[in-house]
Amino acid sequence: MSEGATESRLSELPGDLMMWVLIVSELLVFGAGLAAFLAVRTTDTGGFAEAQDLLDRTAGGINTAVLVTSGLCAALAVRWRRAHRRLGARLWLGAAALLGGLFLWVKAVEYGDKIAAGIGTETHPFFTFYYLLTGFHAAHVAAGIIILGLIAWRDSLNNLETGTAFWHMVDLVWVLLFPVIYLLR
């Protein structure tokens, strides 16, 4: 494989190369987290199923719809920006960020209910992973909202592609976390 070929293939990626380094790193971390979750689950399938029943699957389902819709808004923002419709693009980014905020609000209600029920990180290995993986994901949603704000402010096409790539990664990770943690029996 010649140097030129590698270079051009990397430069075909939308947005900044460093964002893709970050995305790959994030996927490795969440992938390893999910793999560890599944591995520990095999040692106590019953306990994990019982603990899982304490989760609010409806809230998780709503949040999935919210975040996927938010991803759509982010994708539309890039499409509008490509068509040089900057105001429209910014409005789509705002919508994406608002839905991200809604996601965090639902998540906070869920955490509040768990804590009120006396469930902490040490209650059961299931909840260690639950708090760790969804909490880490929620931190990324919060960071993503800030990034969406930044690219709405400095709205070059390259910035939009870079920032929304991060947002889609956050979206993708949730689509993986939700079935494995909330639904898998």
Partner: protein
């Protein structure tokens, strides 16, 4: 030497090499105490020898980094160092502090005194006045370097180096906070120890390695910078939360076991990237630099860092494994090869590269320098294997079968004898290295006759 103030580096490198000689001699003595435990037990107890060995290591590496900064910043910034006087003053403070610490340790002066006595905190034992001196010296250094960079050309190499050096100085501030609670003490303690060697020092390493590759291989700066950014990003991404691998069994919540295991597993990536970077640059490079020994040290650095820090670190970083192995000779094996590969080799690479330039002569004693590389690298690799085997046996006897610590030590004594032999090779290599770098001789390696290329 393009800039006069690069000369500052020379005295830094000399101090670093003197401390290097002391450090490996102390290591040899400590290695002998493992073989014959009563050696000097009243005059110079093992814990003091170990303190000298670890403290002098850290100090000489940092002095070497600072020297490297004074050497490469003028070339990167294309201007002289802001104030040579401050640079010498800063070194004087560091030397006085180092000597003060050594004397305090050996004679146990002012025991219990808040300002003057040693603090008895592993690796952060320095008396308070020495710590304050280190901070003052670091501030002078950062001021001097930062002003130079800000006034001159800004490159990825100088930016990353500066980020690493600022991180080094700021994280040291945690050495001043010593909570009563031992778990909290350890938690903050790792902010210095871990976030240095598995965080900001990696940035310094990547920047210096990038500079060496630029000079030795003649590869385009653009390519070097792209690699540098990827290395820095993966190092910080994995290294910061990788601190969790020290929080498994010190009384911290259980989620650290997963944070530590997952993130520190990824710490292999930046070290692998640095190794790949070094070799790819050499393959692509069109320049046939006469200083072959500097190239050997650079490639050796990247390779041994990958094995010592990356592979040997990963070996016991998962918490289910670390449950059995923590604090055994496996840790010692990892520590030795990681420090040697990543930071000792790096310093020796930049010394080897810089000295002929600083002294304005051809790279003499190339063969002797390369001999010293193989002696040290061979000795250290052998020591790593020996300690790893000792550690595996120790883990089984002590942690699995539950035998007593000292009974187990008796059973691994053969490995300690072999480790001492390996240590002799390392010390010999170190002395040959110092001789090869400092002594003028006629013997040099002729550059090959490939396509000539313009200097960077």
């Amino acid at each position: 030497m393009k800039y006069q103030t690069q000369k500052i580096a020379q005295i830094y490198f000399l101090v670093a090499m003197a401390l290097f000689a002391i450090q490996v001699s102390g290591g040899l003595l400590a290695g002998w105490i493992y073989v014959a435990p009563n050696t000097l037990s009243e005059l110079l107890p093992f814990n003091i020898v170990r303190m000298l060995h670890t403290n002098s290591l850290i100090v000489w590496l940092i002095v070497g980094f600072m020297g490297a900064a004074y050497f490469l910043i003028p070339e990167e910034s294309e201007r002289e160092i802001h104030s040579p006087m401050l640079a010498y003053l800063q070194l004087a403070i560091l030397v006085i502090g180092t000597l003060g610490a050594v004397v305090t340790y050996i004679f146990n002066l002012f025991e219990g005194n808040v300002l003057l006595g040693q603090e008895g905190r592993e690796f952060l034992e320095q008396p308070l006045w020495v710590k304050i001196g280190i901070v003052v010296a670091a501030l002078i250094f950062l001021y001097n370097i930062t002003i130079t960079v800000l006034k001159g050309r800004k490159t990825a190499i100088s930016n990353v180096l500066l980020l690493g050096l600022w991180g080094l100085a700021l994280l040291f501030l945690f050495a001043f906070y010593n909570p009563e609670n031992l778990s909290l003490d350890k938690q903050y303690w790792w902010y210095v120890v871990h976030l240095w060697v598995e965080g900001v020092w990696e940035l310094i390493m990547a920047a210096i390695l990038a500079f060496l590759m630029l000079k030795l291989t003649g590869v385009d700066r653009e390519i070097v910078e792209k690699w540098l950014y990827v290395i820095v990003a993966t190092a910080l991404f994995s290294g910061i939360l990788g601190t969790g691998h020290h929080y498994y069994w010190i009384g911290t919540p259980a989620y650290w076991q997963w944070i530590g295991s997952i993130f520190s597993s990824l710490e292999v990536i930046p070290f692998f990237a640095m190794m790949a970077f070094a070799f790819v640059m050499v393959w692509k490079g069109r320049r046939d630099h006469p200083n072959k020994a500097a190239l050997l040290w650079s490639l050796g650095c990247a390779t041994l860092a990958f094995f010592g820090a990356g592979v040997w670190g990963f070996m016991h970083t998962l918490h289910s494994i670390n449950f059995f192995t923590h604090g055994t000779q496996i840790t010692a094996a990892h520590g030795h090869l990681a420090f040697f590969g990543a930071y000792v080799c790096l310093n020796l690479a930049i010394f080897t590269y810089a000295f002929p330039i600083l002294k304005n002569r051809d790279p003499y004693n190339q063969v002797l320098n390369m001999v010293s590389f193989w002696l040290m690298a061979g000795g250290m690799t052998f020591m790593t294997f020996v300690l790893t085997f000792a550690g595996i046996i120790q883990t089984h006897l002590q942690r699995v079968l539950g035998e007593y610590y000292m009974d187990v030590q008796d059973q691994v004594s053969l490995f300690y004898i072999m480790r001492f032999g390996a240590g002799v090779a390392v010390v010999l290599g170190a002395l040959i290295f110092i001789y090869a770098v400092l002594m003028p001789r006629k013997e040099i390696i002729e550059p090959g006759h490939s396509r000539p290329v313009a200097a960077e």
